[in-house]
Symmetry: C2
Subunit: 153 residues, 2 copies
DNA sequence: CACCATAAGTTCCTTTAAGAGACGCACAGA
DNA sequence: TCTGTGCGTCTCTTAAAGGAACTTATGGTG
């Protein structure tokens, strides 16, 4: 129900959740990413209530994740598209896919595969360090306070 | 409110959301990751209701993301720790941090920084392809149906 | 023209989850 | 015995999700 808004916390995870943490939002994004980008298509594909879909789309547009644009003048018809900010959120979706594939897909195997244009192979995402390009995960880092850290007396 | 459960969808994003998509869950994980791992610590640090914290912890334990273990016999006292499954979810948190840093941190800059043990430098996560090790994002892939895809007549 | 269909919402009512705070239990130390 | 701490449970209120009917604008068909 999330009455508590996370946007004011000094934590990038909380602030990211504030934008796409509400139920359905990541699934809406995923659908727009693969071309399911109109109101009724989204509603039918997800089985989401029209009321909630309206609220989520408005929030995502207001937060510059999606852009609403008219694809027909008369009758007036709209579709939603990813902004640059929204496109970068797809990184998050791909990591979610990876974890879901590993831990929840079971016998059947992954529902989708990625073919990487650069190499032509089927691959999945891995996290690397921006400084040295080598693999990086939570067990191989120190977490330090940054400039935007909350002031702790 | 999320009455709709996502776990049955043939989508790894939905199935991942089923495990950690509810409000507060990613923040609980983040805290356990940095050593805030006991009930009262979590409750105070996050300002979450004790009722909801209880529910989330139980769900995360039931789903093998966290492990509840006794650190004192008498009086009985418990703390929560990441399992292997939970540790891999931290990849997701790090990607959330990256997006939040880029798009929501503003003037103040990132609240936390990572020092990568392998190179000693401050870095952030980047997505690379498991097949060729080069950078990979949603604009550079084709999405194909995998073995676990829903049967579409 | 009358009638139905479609896209994109809006409105209303019910059900369920979140928030807040009081309460309970087991023990330790003074 | 009294107080404090850790780890919860219980209860009550409020807000959000689900579901379905309704609206508006328009185009197509008989």
């Amino acid at each position: 129900m999330q009455r508590t808004r996370f946007g004011d916390m000094a934590c990038s995870i909380a602030r990211t959740l504030d934008v796409i943490g509400e139920p359905w939002s990541p699934l809406i994004l995923r659908n727009v990413m693969v071309g399911i980008s109109r109101f009724d298509q989204l509603q039918r594909n997800l089985g989401i209530s029209r009321k909630v879909l309206t609220e989520r789309l408005r929030w995502l547009v207001d937060n510059d994740v999606l852009e609403r644009r008219r694809y027909s003048e008369r009758p007036p018809r709209y579709e939603y598209a990813l902004t640059a900010k929204g496109t970068e959120l797809c990184d998050l979706l791909m990591v979610m896919v990876r974890w879901g594939d590993r831990w929840t897909a079971g016998e059947a195997g992954p529902p989708v595969l990625y073919r990487h244009h650069a190499c032509g192979e089927i691959g999945h995402v891995e996290l690397h360090c921006s400084a040295c390009d080598r693999p990086m995960d939570v067990t191989g880092i120190d977490i330090l306070p940054g400039p935007g850290a909350a002031v702790t007396a």
